[in-house]
């Protein structure tokens, strides 16, 4: 912890989302994915770390935007759905009243018109009995239904960007697949870009066009989805991909990266991954690597690629 009591969980966010695409953000639990997404919304809980760096949205820097401007953006241009569908809806207001709020604030729609649109949205996310649901309370709905309501609520103003923070982790497997399917459909039918936060590489392979890998609050690698799976560069990414169980080979033991994610605030000099990295050398401990482009869309934060660009360390380790 630093002297003024602030912990810098997310050190610098350095990636972009293109309009209409699905960007995956992956990393182990505690690496700062939720804090990153909340900081885009300007909703990082105040005692938490400050966000350093810029968050550009349509050329506008959200880090320095006024609270008033952020209110106009939230729910209207950027919307968010959360990890916990069971607790993300207000228990004492009806589904309907919670759904129409964003339309009333941002579009200034009259109640009747907003309600009609809300019913349409509930139908769009595949909920039956949409009209009756409007009058029901969250506790009357299952987890999967609540997450659909959350999606309808987030999409109601047709935002340019939808941030989905592990939208399926709290749900059971069949519901997970349905929700992902729904989000994919919505992405294809509207021009809403999705920032899909997950620690499930299967979800990434299924949904995303591009992937950002985070470690200890920093982006360590960024590439399109095919490149990430076929030629990952950062030792952490390599570890992540090796830890995915291969369905074709049932005998294979699950590989997991030894060690733990550093605690927020315990950030030291050098590469944060060094204590767990099999390739670490002197420079890794003393100097912090920068996110460098490897040509094309791939970028990586690792000293291994300082000189010889484009070396595939998977090839190097297997021998």
């Amino acid at each position: 912890m630093t002297d003024d009591g602030e912990i810098s969980v997310v050190n610098s966010i350095d990636f972009q989302v293109n309009s209409g695409e699905v960007l995956g953000i992956v990393g182990e639990s505690g690496c700062g994915k939720s804090v990153t997404s909340l900081s885009v919304m300007g909703l990082v809980p105040s005692p938490a770390g400050k966000v350093e760096g810029d968050i550009l949205f349509n050329g506008e820097n959200l880090v320095s935007a006024s609270e008033k401007r952020m209110r106009q953006i939230r729910g209207n241009e950027i919307a968010m759905i959360f990890q916990e569908p069971m607790t993300s809806l207000n228990p004492v207001f009806t589904i309907g009243s919670q759904l129409i709020e964003a339309l009333q604030i941002h579009k200034k729609w009259p109640k009747k018109k907003a309600q009609a649109h809300a019913v349409d949205m509930l139908k769009m996310v595949g909920l039956p009995r949409a009209e009756e649901l409007m009058k029901e309370f969250p506790h009357q709905l299952s987890g999967g239904m609540r997450q659909r309501v959350m999606i309808a609520m987030a999409m109601i103003c047709a935002p340019k960007l939808l941030i989905a923070d592990e939208p399926t982790t709290a749900l059971d497997v069949t519901i997970q697949a349905q929700i992902l399917e729904l989000m994919k459909k919505l992405n294809e039918e509207t021009d809403t870009a999705i920032m899909m936060i997950t620690h499930d590489l299967g979800v990434v392979a299924e949904m995303c066009q591009r992937v950002v890998v985070m470690y200890a609050g920093k982006v360590v690698e960024e590439a399109d989805v095919k490149t990430i799976f076929t030629s990952p560069k950062h030792p952490y990414t390599v570890g992540l991909i090796q830890s995915v169980p291969d369905m074709r080979d049932k005998k294979e033991r699950l590989y997991s990266i030894p060690g733990n994610v550093p605690k927020p605030g315990s950030v030291k000099a050098g590469c944060q991954f060094a204590p767990r990295c099999a390739h670490a050398f002197d420079r890794c401990i003393s100097e912090t690597p920068a996110l460098e482009s490897l040509g094309g869309s791939q970028r990586v934060r690792c000293w291994l690629y300082e000189d010889e660009k484009g070396v595939n360390i998977v090839d190097r380790t297997i021998s």
Binding site: R71, I73, G75, E84, S88, N90, P91, F93, H139, M153
Partner: protein
């Protein structure tokens, strides 16, 4: 909701019966023969015996109880030994005075307490928050009689701003209709008297309302802080709602659920405090009525007076339970 209310009201019957029994037995447990006490040391044995018979005190306790209960069902609270008139006829003006004072006190406590708690939570760790918490800490530990006497000494005697005692100005007494003077004066269109009544209510209202105000402020603050950390508040903010609505709509309705219980409890306790406050401020309420009855050993009045206060307490709790169910849709009816 409706059937829930009916069921809760139905539950009242055994509670009220039990309560009546306890009050009845309590009065009987006081040592000494009431007839002797009423007639004094010099009374003849005959006179005592006659009065004992008259009061029905020679009967076994259960006969007396059934008799008393039978009377209650017909709205008969018994006869005052001192005034020789039915208690049910004379109790209302006192009860109304207490109700008016308690309502004003709890209103002050709720309006100020809830808002102070909300703003404290909203601006947690600000100077306002610290100030409210300090005042609340002083408030809960302030004895009512001390606060009442301080008010009288400074506000009434030294600065001569507000009257010390009573409900109205004796030079222009209020013509009672309902005995709730705030309502009576308005019904009569006597605005000058209304102002007088308000002036008389302020000091005892504050004396009585301070402790509940402090408790409600602290409870609201902690409840709000907890609610404001919850996921659905994050959702509300993510919609782009103004902080004011996040606080006063989304947070408050949830935060009020535990606060309402506290308000109900405090309103009940207020009745106890009211009796103390009434003595200090010469307030002709039910406390004064019972106190005088104790002085003159007017047993039927003590018994029925306590019973009326206890019933009021039970009714407040019923009201709170129903309110609770109206706010929280998760409560099963």
């Amino acid at each position: 909701m409706f059937s829930y209310t009916i069921r809760r009201v139905g539950l009242l019957i055994p509670v009220l019966l039990g309560m009546t029994f306890i009050v009845f037995m309590m009065i009987r447990a006081i040592p000494g023969n009431p007839a002797q006490l009423i007639l004094g040391q010099q009374a003849s044995k005959d006179a005592i015996e006659t009065l004992t018979k008259q009061l029905g005190l020679d009967q076994p306790w259960y006969t007396q109880f059934v008799h008393y209960l039978g009377g209650l069902f017909q709205g008969d609270l018994g006869m005052s030994l001192k005034t020789r008139s039915p208690i049910s006829d004379e109790i209302w003006p006192y009860l109304a005075a207490t109700i008016e004072l308690s309502l004003v006190a709890i209103l002050i406590a709720v309006i100020i307490g809830v808002n102070a708690g909300i703003i404290s939570a909203w601006f947690q760790n600000s100077w306002f928050d610290y100030a409210v918490m300090l005042i609340a800490l002083i408030g809960v530990s302030m004895p009512i009689f001390w606060l009442g006497l301080m008010e009288q000494y400074f506000v009434s005697i030294k600065w001569d701003l507000l009257p010390t005692t009573g409900r109205d100005n004796i030079r222009m007494p209020v013509e009672a209709i309902t005995h709730l003077y705030l309502i009576d004066t308005l019904m009569e269109g006597r605005f000058d008297q209304f102002i007088e009544v308000v002036k008389h209510l302020i000091l005892p209202g504050i004396a009585l309302g301070t402790i509940p105000m402090a408790i409600i402020a602290r409870m609201t603050r902690s409840s709000m802080l907890e609610v404001m950390r919850s996921d659905y508040i994050r959702t509300a903010r993510a919609k782009g709602l103004k902080m004011f609505w996040v606080v006063y709509k989304h947070s408050l309705k949830n935060a009020m659920i535990p606060v309402i219980t506290v308000i109900g409890l405090q309103t009940g306790l207020l009745l106890g405090g009211a009796i103390l406050t009434e003595t200090i401020f010469g307030w002709p309420g039910i406390g004064t009525y019972i106190y005088d009855a104790i002085q003159s050993r007017d047993y039927p009045v003590i018994q029925s007076g306590i019973l009326v206060v206890a019933t009021l307490f039970v009714l407040i709790n019923l009201f709170v339970d129903i309110l609770y169910a109206a706010i929280d849709p998760r409560i099963k009816y």
